[in-house]
């Protein structure tokens, strides 16, 4: 069989292939990417950027889950939302529709639901683009249980974090402590009505974009069969200094997500 570089082509034929330039990165497996099933949880700022990168990377089967609607203050960092979208449909629907325009071969399914209502976890990879710890813990637990690689992203102003959770490895919960649970409880208790309260945090597009791009890149590595190249386990990004550093996480054998592992 001829290798990619030995194939006979006619002049400028390479410009007719949407993924020609991606294929020039040897380890990227476009065939596996095109058949990979992705779940993106959250259709806000990170969700917009992650879906953009996934579609342009060649993913064709993407499910986006979010129940929120667009508000004006989303528009400083959500590439697929417009003024006319405000209060007219859910973020997941709008994101699915607009991102589909990037590639006619992509199928993006919008799920207008809280992630806690999701029953079908038949995916090859999960990307977390949420804005709270309790939803992250839920997705983390389901990903671990179903042995699905999970790439979580988070931002706080100019700071960002990407955590890669591979089956059998340390998970989000292994890296958390009481301060996370205190925050999580505050979100549910401070309204006094047992409803969820998310404080408004600083957020802008450059950090969002950097974090989302790294999440999507990890997805490309995982689906291309190159888990050996993945971040171990957390990349922490400081948008002020421009520095990114890696932190290893110790697997917590008492973590409930690892109790049934063989």
């Amino acid at each position: 069989m001829q290798s990619f570089y030995e194939q006979m082509i006619s002049v400028k034929e390479y410009d007719k292939d949407r993924f020609d330039r991606s294929k020039r990165i040897e380890w990227i497996d476009i065939g596996r990417i095109q058949s990979g099933r992705c779940l993106v949880v959250g259709a806000g700022a990170l969700g917009n950027e992650v879906v953009k990168c996934l579609v342009l990377s060649g993913f064709r089967d993407i499910t986006v889950a979010d129940m929120d609607t667009v508000v004006i203050s989303n528009l400083n960092r959500c590439v697929f939302f417009r003024d006319t979208d405000v209060n007219s449909g859910t973020k997941s629907e709008i994101l699915a529709k607009r991102a589909s325009e990037l590639d006619p071969d992509v199928k993006i399914t919008a799920k207008q639901m809280r992630i806690q209502e999701m029953e079908d976890w038949d995916f090859d990879i999960v990307l977390g683009c949420m804005d709270n710890i309790s939803a992250r813990l839920h997705v983390n637990a389901h990903s671990c249980y179903h042995c699905i690689p999970y790439v979580d992203g988070g931002t706080d102003g100019m700071l960002g974090k990407i955590q890669v959770v591979l089956p059998g490895g340390p998970c989000l919960q292994c890296a958390m402590n009481r301060s996370h649970y205190n925050v999580s409880e505050t979100r549910f208790n401070c309204t006094g009505k047992s409803s969820f309260y998310a404080p408004k945090m600083a957020a802008e597009i450059t950090t969002t974009s950097a974090v989302a791009a790294m999440q999507a890149r990890e997805a490309v590595k995982i689906i291309s069969g190159r888990k050996d190249m993945c971040i171990e386990n957390i990349a922490y990004y400081d948008g002020i200094s421009g520095e990114t550093f890696i932190m290893n996480v110790k697997k917590d054998d008492s973590c409930e997500n690892h109790m049934n592992e063989v």
Partner: protein, 79 residues
Amino acid sequence: MGIRIVVRNATLGATLKMDLAPNETIYDIIESAAEFWKKDPRAYVLRKGKSLLSAKDTVMEANIMNEDVLELLPDPEGG
């Protein structure tokens, strides 16, 4: 014998010295440092070089040594 470490605040760049007993936990360090800097109620983690320290571990289990510099980082929650 106590262990004296330095905790660096990743957000402010400030540092503080802290005396620790070997049986104190990493979470004790996180909580004390966050209180000292009057940090907002949010999630924090502590790292030593390339390792995120397990909050349950004691200072001894985490192999914290005299003059170690640990860094307190906010854990970004937004999306």
